[in-house]
């Protein structure tokens, strides 16, 4: 039996400890904001926070999260107004929107550690997150805009 904190709630799990966080939060907890995009850590759609740092939900086993704090997009902020979420709305970033939870979780993780990232630091942090609609210019601008508000 594992105990994991997800968005501030203690969750007990007695299933396969190798279950990736991605499927745990989606199938077990119904937190569907975290998306499956590739399953091998190459697209970033499943990005969640483990103790505040962005990790790939598809590459992180539930056992690795035991005793730690998992945050998904649903728990990024109590009111949905994290500076990253606000910036995403202000700049009309999303097109289809599917990858954006992962993008925002990645950006929030960056800004939690680095309040004034350079353009190159933003690129380094975000290049693991694919957006097939091609919203990169706005994503980059939104991270920069959010940096002021974090």
């Amino acid at each position: 039996m594992l105990t994991i904190s997800v968005n501030g709630k203690e969750i007990k799990f007695d299933g396969d400890p190798n279950t990736p966080l991605l499927w745990f939060v989606r199938d077990e907890l119904g937190l569907t904001g975290t998306k499956y995009g590739c399953g091998v850590g190459l697209c970033g759609a499943c990005t969640v926070h483990l103790d505040g740092t962005a990790v790939r939900g598809c590459q992180t086993a539930v056992s690795e999260a035991a005793g730690k704090k998992v945050t998904t997009i649903e728990g990024l902020s109590a009111d949905g107004n994290h500076p990253v979420q606000q910036a995403w709305r202000d700049l009309n970033v999303p097109q289809c929107g599917f990858c954006q939870a992962g993008q925002m979780m990645q950006a929030a993780s960056l800004l939690a550690k680095n309040r004034a990232p350079t353009d190159a630091e933003i690129v380094d942090e975000m290049t693991g997150n694919i957006c097939r609609c091609g919203c990169y210019e706005r994503i980059h601008a939104a991270v920069r805009a959010a940096a002021g508000g974090v």
């Binding site: 569907t32 949905g80 097109q95 599917f98 091609g134 990169y136």
Partner: protein, 790 residues
């Protein structure tokens, strides 16, 4: 609809409102709409004439189930004033789910803050065509949605007239309420203090019959609140940012099962035998089922294979890994991309089936002082939407219900009904948001799989999840192609003849027995509609038989055609010592509307389904976008070493787009794009903010397709499996700044045209032309790779 109104309401003029209320049931009205829904009832505002409109025909009339504009179908008003508008087109990132309801809201004078948008299930007889592809949503539904909103406004005003007992002419709808007017001393109408909100009028208004088209007026553009402003955010924006937006895999039903399928690695292959012993040992795996195989032409039928059904996605995935399957590959195992490419190039070197013939190309080439030629090729591409295909299905009391991210919900319903042998009334298809579509989700094989598995499980709800590997290895691929262009030059270097040969496996092969030839839709995409002013033109098609499933990918055959034609113009300019932009303008020639007959174009020329007289090839508009893009990009400016500008123009989806790509080559050869400048002429437009986002995205997808993305086959198997070997543009290298210039329509005949796709085709040739300008290196095969070879 006209016929119905003539019968019901008699001669023109205000309808006898009370009589209509008494005599015309909503049901009979809808019946009238259904009867004539194939007729595009089309209206257009004539600037400066607020009280008149003029219909123009569109290709919507030729689409299954045409258009519907009935407010009773698309609009509901609650007593508290909440307005609900139905979005009947699928949302895959283009903004259609916002833009079309926004048009209705604007015309009906609804306050967008009090509008809720709901998604229609697949029901074309009720809503009109729902097949969300071909960049058609706004092009085909701008008029019906304006008509719908204008009719609703009329009904609200008529309801207020009934309520107050005054003439309708004294009732004016404005921002979610109707204001009573009175005649001032000078006869002018002035607003009084009397107002009534839409909520209070809802019951009477919604019971009204719909006015005749000649009774309604469109708003003058000066009165638009939302249209053309670009201030309206997409309706799902907040939900997306908080993780609450619902995509295909986000619908959950009690007792739901999770399935993944091992499909034959070669199209047309079958399961010879399989052993699921190890699979069944995986905790959570509940069942393993063999699924029927595939025989061409199979349209959108599933590929078959072996399905693993479990109590979680993870268990199903693990179970699939442990399957031991022996496949029988079938005839498509011969498919090897390098050899196939060679064969396509060889076919393009020989005469093919003549599709367009203007003048005497043979004589032009026989008499040429010189012949100049080049071959261009492209690999297959997978659409690779971030959300792979996924669908949920259940069957209760013989009624099939599906939730899926599909571009064509009614087509999905039809295919399910046919496959399962049930009447279409017994099939419901709910449309979730699509996590990207790009043509892949026009094909409903994944939804059929879910229904088949649900049936196997006695109707239990089952979600079929495609993995990324499934998506890349079992796509309906963008075709691979060879395009050869030759020109005949006279002694003065003037182009006297043009010969273009296209060789590519056709989309048609999924629908009918493969003849090896393409068909009119593919011919219409930048091949026979080549707009240059050359006296002798020949377009030929050489055979290429499909060995995999060929499908639509955002802008389809326009990608290889624009790549070939627009690269070739720059190559010719270089050969002749000309500026590429000047050469391009000169080849397009004088301002004119191209005449299909004198141009020797096919009689069945496919103009994106649009009536040619309304949406002709207008070279003035083509040249205008070239000039605007070039001017805004500073064409001709001096750039540092290993930097360059390239230009390309292409008309597709009846929209004109020119792009100037600025390339900078790194010391290690990495191709970078600091800036793209695009001019788009899509006629009358309603959501410039989403047009910009589509063009920005098209540049990124254009760069992916030009530099990164290719699918190749070995022994019939796709060689790429995930984003490691099928690359797409990432933030590490993408077009850094995309400047979008939307051309203002200058004539009422500049109707709304497509936006979702036409930004893509000019990118690859503009990029390769810029690389040539920067380095003198000419790239003729896509994808080029990220780095220039030394």
């Amino acid at each position: 609809m006209l016929h119905y109104f003539e019968k019901q309401s008699g001669p023109a003029g205000n309808p006898p409102v009370r009589a209509i209320l008494e005599n015309v049931s909503r049901r009979s009205f809808i019946g009238g709409v259904l009867k004539t829904s194939g007729v595009a009832l089309a209206l257009q505002i004539v600037p400066g004439a607020a009280n008149a409109y003029e219909a123009y025909p569109t290709g919507a009339a030729g689409m299954p189930h045409g258009v519907v504009s009935d407010p009773h179908v698309f609009v509901a008003i609650d007593k508290d004033g909440q307005v609900t508008i139905v979005a009947h087109r699928s949302e895959m990132g283009t903004g259609a789910r916002t833009s079309l309801p926004m048009v209705v809201a604007d015309e009906m004078e609804a306050d967008w803050q009090r509008v809720r948008v709901i998604q229609a299930p697949g029901d074309e007889p009720r809503y009109g065509n729902q097949d969300t592809d071909g960049s058609r949503s706004v092009r085909h539904f701008i008029q019906p949605m304006r008509e719908c909103g204008a009719a609703m406004r009329f009904m609200l005003e008529a309801a207020a007239a009934v309520h107050w007992g005054v003439d309708r002419s004294l009732c004016k709808a404005s921002n979610h309420e109707v204001i009573q007017l009175s005649k001032g001393p000078d006869g002018k109408l002035i607003e009084t203090d009397k107002k009534i909100g839409y909520g209070a009028l809802a019951t009477i208004a919604m019971a009204m019959a719909v006015p005749r088209p000649d009774q309604i007026t469109f708003k003058d553009p000066s009165q638009f609140r939302y249209m053309g402003k670009g201030k309206t955010q997409i309706v799902d924006l907040h939900d997306i940012t908080v993780g609450k937006a619902i995509y295909g895999a986000d619908v959950h039903l009690p007792g739901m099962k999770y399935a993944v399928i091992a499909r034959p690695p070669v199209v047309g292959g079958k399961v010879k035998k399989f052993d699921a012993t190890e699979t069944k040992k995986v905790p959570g795996v509940e069942a393993v089922h063999e699924m029927a195989g595939w025989a061409a032409p199979a349209k959108f039928a599933p590929l078959g294979g072996v399905a693993v059904i479990a109590n979680s996605t993870y268990a199903a995935l693990q179970g699939r890994e442990k399957l031991a399957i022996e496949w029988e590959d079938g005839p498509n195992a011969v498919y090897n991309s390098p050899a196939y490419r060679d064969a396509m190039i060889a076919a393009a070197a020989k005469p093919g089936k003549v599709i367009r013939s203007q003048g005497d190309a043979d004589a032009a080439f026989a008499n040429a002082a010189e012949v100049f030629a080049a071959d261009y090729t492209q690999q297959h591409v997978a659409q690779a939407s971030m959300e792979p295909p996924v669908a949920l299905a259940r069957i209760v009391d013989g009624k099939i219900e599906v939730w899926a991210p599909v571009q064509s919900p009614y087509g999905t319903r039809e295919d399910i009904a046919k496959t399962m042998g049930v009447p279409i009334e017994n099939v419901t298809v709910h449309v979730t948001l699509l996590g990207g579509g790009f043509g892949r989700k026009s094909k409903c094989d994944f939804a059929i799989e879910a229904v088949q598995l649900s049936k196997t499980l006695g109707g239990k709800p089952v979600r079929v999840q495609w993995t990324r590997e499934d998506d890349l290895q079992h796509a309906f691929y963008h075709t691979t192609s060879a395009e050869r262009i030759e020109v005949a030059l006279d002694k003065a270097g003037k182009v006297t003849g043009w010969r273009h040969r296209t060789v590519a496996p056709s989309i048609l092969s999924t629908f009918a027995e493969d003849s090896g030839y393409q068909f009119k839709i593919e011919y219409g995409m930048g091949f026979v509609d080549m707009p240059f002013d050359i006296p002798n033109i020949r377009c030929e098609n050489g055979q290429a038989f499909a060995h995999t499933r060929i499908g639509w990918f955002r802008s389809v055959s326009n990608i290889p055609r624009a790549f070939a034609v627009q690269s070739f113009v720059a190559e010719l300019a270089h050969k002749l010592g000309r500026d590429p932009k000047d050469m391009l303008l000169e080849m397009i020639g004088p301002d004119r509307v191209i005449d299909i007959k004198t141009a020797g174009m096919p009689e069945d020329f496919w103009n994106y389904g649009e009536p040619y007289p309304e949406f002709p090839i207008d070279t003035a508009r083509l040249k205008n976008v070239v000039n605007v893009a070039a001017d805004k990009a500073g064409w001709g400016k001096k750039l540092p070493d290993r930097q360059g500008l390239g230009i390309a123009v292409h008309r597709s989806f009846v929209t004109y787009v020119a792009s100037v790509v600025h390339v900078a080559i790194d010391d290690d050869g990495t191709i970078r794009v600091p800036e793209v400048t695009t001019a788009i002429d899509c006629g009358f437009y309603i959501n410039p903010e989403r047009i910009r986002s589509q063009v920005e995205g098209a540049a990124v997808m254009g760069m992916s397709t030009a530099m990164y993305s290719g699918i190749t086959f070995k022994d019939g198997r796709a060689e790429q499996s995930n984003f490691g070997d099928f690359s797409v543009a990432r933030m590490g290298n993408f077009p850094q700044k995309v400047n979008v210039h939307i051309i203002e329509p200058t004539s009422p005949t500049h109707h709304a045209t497509g936006v979702g796709e036409p930004g893509v085709p000019p990118f690859a040739p503009a990029l390769c032309n810029a690389i040539f300008a920067a380095t003198g290196k000419r790239l003729r095969s896509l994808p080029t790779g990220e780095k220039l070879e030394a």
